[in-house]
């Protein structure tokens, strides 16, 4: 089929869904809106499948489907075309985005059936899908930025969806503003790249970029990639711009699943995988990215241990897993990053949807201290959630094991890797296992701690089916990336590595013995298993132990529970001074100076006018005199 038409359908289906639902935004018919929206997402998924099939048919060297619709910006040296490219990376992305997106749209039909403004919600969801597809399909940085901004906007709209609650509305604003700070970095990175290389097209950049890595900290590529990384920290919630993601749990749960787990927050990772050829030429940036990623993973995991809101636990878990992805990018393991992106989309979306199912069943209760023993009331949710849990803590043969383990191995063995990074990763894996098991214990297992007025019931099929599908993928999703060490012996290739090899930068691998690899794998699995057991014993067998540990840690526990007071720090040291400074500027420059100058100009004119007004005194004879004088003057000029 004609590729341009396929890509256009892929992009326009969600846009049309947005327009259709957008014009009917006040309708309360959730089923019609939901059907249209899910249909649009499904059409996009179908187009992605067709494009992937066509891509498979192409030979490996030229495995790319490119199309461009029109020349967009043509100013001086800047030539930006409205072009889209489907290659190995974007194929994975569009399949994940549209596939998981369609499932979440289906889930939302059941979840938002009794909401006040369901049609607006579905319109926004489709708009988000449209922007995300533009982001991942664009063939140059500008198109990606258009999508980047668009998903930021949709994040704001959807997080602050229940805007009548001022806290939720301000959470939306926080998400948007923090994103924008990152976007400034993105823009400066774009400007630097354009200034240095004259193009913003990914393919052209990969061709032009110098083949010798930079050694200086102030080299052009280093600065550009650092600025782009600042943008990525905003979008993908890394230190220092991660503060919006936990607050963004104020939005509806399917939104958290789609945007803040599976798709939008992975945009930063996608950007760097796409620009891998540029990134490897700036080793200092990679170092920064790796350490920021690892620290974010660790810090977020520590905070996740102390949270009581089910969605906040999952939010910090997302920040932590994103940290893993950036760790992978930073050590040059682009394939591993993309792999973890994919598996994380499956199991995190699954867990968010599962938590949505739990919240729906518990009638909007989100505190895990009031849950417990839901295993027998919500069987499907429970089973799928178990699949997600095992995936995230990295138990073989579930999906998360393969991807997370690949990252840890590369952190250990890659030429850009570092034992310290590996150690941080392993500790974080242990913490991840701990708090996820804690979540399971407090929510599904053990004794029920909710009152008898709540009668939890299983979710309807529109909500259960996506859970089941995602559960299946959480189990089998990792089997496309079986490392050589395991699969080499039985003849199973690492499909994903082979798929992505032509487009990502390949680093010289240090040779590591198979035994070391098995040892590392076993070590991380053991750490995860032990942490899970500890958590189980804490929360099921002897519930008093965690409380006493928390009391013993005292102030430290409070600090962690309050997210290390980072929000308060930002508020006090950055936001408030800016606001006060702006107020002072407003007062001293705008009110005192500019306004006064404007009034002065007005008063001058007004005064001059009243002075000139005295000419018109209403006396005919004065007017006659003026006429006579005028005639005298004219005659003088003419005659003399």
């Amino acid at each position: 089929m004609n590729h341009a038409l396929l890509i256009m359908t892929l992009l326009l289906a969600p846009l049309l869904g947005f327009l259709f639902n957008g014009f009917r935004f006040s309708s309360k018919d959730a089923y019609l809106a939901g059907t249209v929206a899910t249909g649009a997402a499904a059409i996009s998924f179908f187009c992605s499948l067709l494009l992937w099939k066509d891509l498979l048919a192409l030979p490996v060297e030229s495995r790319v489907i490119a199309t461009h619709f029109f020349d967009w910006i043509n100013v001086g040296a800047l030539n930006v075309r409205f072009g889209f490219v489907v290659d190995q990376i974007s194929a994975i992305m569009i399949l994940v985005v549209t596939g998981v997106g369609s499932l979440i749209h289906l889930f939302s039909v059941g979840y938002m059936a009794h909401d006040e403004r369901p049609t607006k919600y579905f319109a926004y969801l489709n708009l988000f899908l449209f922007n995300m597809l533009i982001l991942v399909l664009g063939d140059n940085l500008v198109i990606t930025f258009v999508g980047w901004e668009g998903v930021g906007l949709c994040s704001y709209l959807l997080v602050g969806f229940w805007f009548t609650d001022s806290q939720k509305a301000s959470a939306g604003m926080k998400a948007f503003v923090t994103n924008r700070i990152g976007d400034a970095g993105f823009l400066i990175g774009m400007f630097t790249l354009f200034f240095a290389f004259g193009t913003l097209n990914y393919a052209d950049l990969a061709a032009i970029i110098p083949k010798v890595p930079e050694t200086a900290w102030l080299g052009t590529i280093t600065i550009a990639t650092l600025c782009l990384f600042l943008g990525a920290t905003g979008k993908s919630a890394q230190i220092p711009l991660y503060v919006w993601l936990p607050d963004a749990m104020a939005g509806p749960t399917p939104v958290s699943a789609l945007i803040h787990a599976a798709t939008m927050v992975t945009a930063g990772v996608y950007l760097f995988v796409r620009m891998s050829n540029v990134l490897v030429m700036a080793p200092h940036t990679m170092e920064v990215i790796a350490w920021v990623g690892a620290s974010t993973a660790f810090v977020a995991a520590t905070i996740g241990v102390t949270q009581w809101d089910i969605k906040k636990i999952l939010a910090y878990s997302t920040v932590s897993q994103l940290g893993y992805m950036f760790l992978a990018v930073g050590v040059g393991a682009f394939t591993a990053a993309q792999f973890h992106l994919m598996t994380h989309a499956f199991f995190k979306a699954l867990m968010f949807l599962g938590s949505g199912s739990v919240i729906h069943a518990m009638h909007e209760e989100q505190d895990v201290r009031h849950m417990g023993g839901l295993k027998k009331y919500l069987p499907i949710t429970h089973i799928t959630f178990v699949c997600g849990w095992l995936a995230i803590i990295g138990m073989p043969p579930f999906a998360g094991f393969f991807s997370k383990d690949e990252i840890l191995f590369q952190a250990f063995a890659s030429p850009y890797g570092n034992k310290g990074l590996w150690a941080l990763g392993v500790v974080t894996a242990g913490l991840t296992a701990f708090y996820m098991t804690r979540l399971m214990c407090l929510t599904f297992w053990g004794k029920s701690r909710f009152g008898h007025d709540k009668h939890p019931h299983e979710s309807p099929p529109t909500m259960a089916i996506p859970l089941i599908i995602l559960g299946v993928f959480s189990v089998i999703g990792g089997w496309v990336g079986i490392p050589h060490v395991i699969g080499g012996g039985v003849g199973i290739p690492n499909i994903l590595e082979g798929w992505l090899e032509p487009v990502t930068a390949q680093l010289k691998e240090t040779e590591v013995s198979g035994l070391l690899e098995w040892g590392l794998m076993g070590f991380s699995v053991a750490v995860a298993a032990i942490s899970a057991l500890i958590a189980y014993s804490f929360y099921i067998l002897s519930p008093e132990t965690p409380k006493s540990i928390a009391a013993a840690l005292g102030g430290f526990y409070d600090a962690v529970c309050n997210k290390y007071y980072v929000d308060e720090f930002y508020q006090g040291w950055i936001i408030n001074p800016l606001v006060e400074g702006s107020k002072a500027l407003w007062l001293y420059i705008d009110v005192n100076f500019i306004d006064k100058a404007t009034y002065l100009a007005g008063d001058l004119v007004s005064g001059a006018a009243s002075f000139v007004k005295t000419v018109q005194n209403g006396k005919t004879q004065s007017y006659a005199l003026y006429m006579a004088l005028g005639v005298v003057v004219v005659m003088t000029i003419v005659l003399l």
Binding site: S622, L625, M635
Partner: protein
């Protein structure tokens, strides 16, 4: 020489009467002085050989227009006016000066342009002026002449219409 004497005495009277017209406070006196000025002007026209025009001046201006003026003045009950001149020495001086300047410029312009007077259609000295004037009016300027008639008709109607508004001309008590 007699010509010069005639001219100068006529000019003197004209200037004197005109000056009195504009300076006496009582408007009736001013009107009467203006009548005398008109008569003097008729004499000046006669001096210049424009007999017909002199006659028309006497009949129309001195005989009709000024009578109209006096009649209207009689309609109003005007006491001798306080402050019949606009106040202010400076503005008065300015007005006089501007009038004088204007007049001076005009005179200068007129005198210097004498040389470019066109002397075509030099009058045939055989016929007298009135006859010549009549021929001109009824042949070359007939259209304007008839238009004048219509204008006068319109004015006559208009004057009556304007002055018929409600209200009396008796003085207020």
């Amino acid at each position: 020489m007699w010509e010069a004497i005639a001219f100068y005495s006529l000019a003197f009277f004209l200037v004197f009467f005109a000056f009195k017209t504009i300076t006496v406070p009582n408007p009736i006196h001013a009107a009467l002085y203006l009548v005398l000025t008109m008569i003097g002007l008729g004499a000046a026209f006669f001096n210049l050989g424009a007999q017909f025009i002199a006659g028309v001046q006497m009949i129309v201006y001195a005989g009709a227009v000024m009578v109209l003026f006096v009649m209207v003045l009689m309609l109003f009950d005007l006491k001798a006016e306080l402050r019949s001149f606009s106040k202010g020495l400076f503005s008065g001086g300015l007005k006089v000066m501007s009038a004088a300047l204007l007049a001076g410029l005009a005179i200068g312009a007129a005198n210097s342009s004498v040389a470019i007077l066109d002397t075509q259609d030099a009058a045939k000295p055989t016929m007298d002026v009135t006859r010549q004037l009549g021929i001109l009016l009824y042949t070359k300027y007939l259209y304007a002449f008839e238009a004048l008639g219509i204008l006068l008709l319109a004015v006559a109607v208009g004057v009556v219409a304007v002055s018929r508004i409600k209200g009396g001309t008796h003085a207020q008590h």
